[in-house]
């Protein structure tokens, strides 16, 4: 206690409600139908979207809507101790909640029998990869022209040294008291994803949720700027 926040500032000098530096770029890949690159603190994340395209084998198809299939994957060199390639239980869970969060804004009923594949590769990991991944995936979906009711944005809040803070970095995640990653539809502030582990009183939770929503809305602004830069660049070409 008392190690992670000193004089109101966090170990990297941030204020409690301050995000790490975030950089978003849309349309970074040649082959993908849509793509985005996100640097978020020490995280480097690439997302690519393929589809809508026919889902095969056919017996997997849903005749009423497109299947949304997000796959979160960590590169083996993205973490301190080399990760064996392939999905572990953590990746499988994140892939599931990410798929669900993104599907909630996609007009899937426009594409019966189709699949929309969303691939998220964590290239460098430093706490908060699932929020960075969803943020990148949302931009990639927009870049691919997938019709959505809103562009999801994600951000985590947490508790460190007894204080609610925004966007935990590695040491805060490991030694802190709680982590609350969320994803929202920025226009309506509806919750698309919410997970939490740690220890929060109800009051702290209210505070943390409010902070995470504020962070998500700021992230949303950056997403839209990235998409605008991309469109502008395309127009200029």
């Amino acid at each position: 206690m008392g190690e992670l926040i000193k004089d109101g500032l966090r170990i990297d000098g941030r204020k409690p409600d301050e995000l790490r530096p975030i950089k978003i770029e849309a349309g970074v890949l040649y082959r993908a139908d849509g793509s985005a690159y996100v640097e978020w603190g020490g995280n480097k994340v690439l997302a690519a979207v393929y589809g809508p395209r026919e889902l095969l084998p056919k017996h997997m198809q849903d005749p009423t809507k497109a299947v949304v299939n997000a796959r979160y994957n960590m590169a083996s060199f993205s973490v301190e101790d080399r990760k064996r390639p392939g999905p572990d239980r953590r990746s499988i869970e994140i892939s599931k909640v990410t798929s669900e969060a993104l599907e909630s804004v996609i007009f899937t009923e426009l594409f019966p029998r189709a699949v929309i594949d969303i691939n998220i590769e964590i290239l460098d990991a430093e706490a908060g990869t699932r929020c960075a991944g969803i943020t990148a995936a949302a931009v990639a979906l927009a870049d691919a022209g997938i019709p959505m009711r809103d562009i999801p944005a994600a951000c985590a809040a947490g508790k460190v040294d007894g204080q609610v803070v925004l966007d935990l970095r590695k040491e805060e995640d490991q030694e802190g008291e709680a982590d609350l990653p969320i994803a929202i539809a920025p226009r309506t502030e509806e919750i698309l994803l919410l997970q939490m582990d740690g220890h929060l009183t109800y009051k702290e939770f209210e505070e943390a949720l409010e902070l995470a929503i504020k962070g998500s809305k700021y992230v949303s602004k950056l997403q839209k700027e990235a998409l605008r830069r991309k469109y502008k660049k395309v127009e200029e070409e």
């Binding site: 005749p63 239980r89 969060a101 909630s104």
Partner: protein, 261 residues
């Protein structure tokens, strides 16, 4: 993945349940804020270090605890370890298939695990055999026997009850007499399903099938939050989430009485 016919039935069922919900009713006659009958039986598996069978309505879940000795994690050399898994065997439902755990089972296991871990229910610091070398590993295996909805709460409750009466099998490992597994206060898990504008607690199978969104919260003895998980492709407003937690705080107290009673 759903096949067409199932889809159609499900659409009809959904309309029906939503219509009922608009009148404040549920298909089985329960209130929105009413759990099905919960029963807990303990110590039913001799070979396990601890066990409990929990029924919530027709859902039946069996949790078994096994302990083994292993190496501690490098970043916590002075602590035992725990591992939670959920099996959805084809015995429990016509829709379950054999094979390695599907994402559904993994999600349930990980949410239950976080509730137990974050509430520090198992006193892992008391599970050291030789510091830095040998610690106890607590395996929590949740075996679903009959699936009629709400495996998050049934699984969590079975795990908590099984841990409550578990022993450290010192004898089997030549380490003296068996002793009780040191535990604190269990987390209580409470799950909601949303369809239409209704949000009901303890969803039954049909309610789960039509649900747009799911929300689980694990609360400690003070009503503080230790784990949460929103699921499915639907959305919650902030108010709905807060309401869920407030409702859960009441349910958790009742379930805690059952468990500790």
């Amino acid at each position: 993945m759903d096949i067409p016919e199932v889809k159609r039935i499900s659409a009809v069922k959904k309309d029906y349940l939503i219509k009922l919900a608009k009148q404040g009713k549920r298909a089985d006659g329960r209130e929105f804020d009413e759990y099905r009958k919960i029963t807990i039986e303990r110590n039913i598996i001799k070979k396990a270090e601890g066990s409990a069978r929990v029924k919530i309505g027709n859902t039946m879940v069996l949790a078994g605890i096994k302990l083994d000795i292993g190496e501690p994690y490098p970043d916590s050399p002075e602590e035992g370890a725990m591992s939670t898994s959920v099996e959805l065997p084809p015995l429990a439902s016509p829709d379950f298939e054999p094979g390695p755990p599907k994402p559904d089972a993994i999600e349930i296991a990980r949410v239950i695990d976080r509730g137990i871990r974050e509430s520090k229910y198992i006193k892992l610091d008391k599970l050291v055999v030789e510091p830095g070398e040998k610690v106890w590993i607590v395996f929590i295996d949740i075996h679903v026997l009959d699936y009629d909805g709400n495996l998050f709460d049934a699984g969590s409750l079975a795990a908590s009850a099984a841990l409550q009466n578990a022993v450290i099998p010192n004898e089997r490992f030549g380490l003296g007499d068996n002793e009780p597994l040191p535990v604190g206060s269990p987390p209580i898990s409470c799950t909601f399903a949303k369809f239409g504008n209704a949000i009901v607690v303890d969803p039954g199978l049909e309610e789960e099938q039509v649900a747009e969104a799911r929300f689980t919260v694990a609360l400690d003895e003070n009503g503080d939050i230790r784990a949460m998980q929103k699921g499915l492709k639907g959305r919650f407003t902030v108010e709905e989430i807060k309401n869920n937690i407030n409702r859960a705080q009441i349910h958790a107290k009742n379930i805690r009485k059952l468990l500790e009673g």
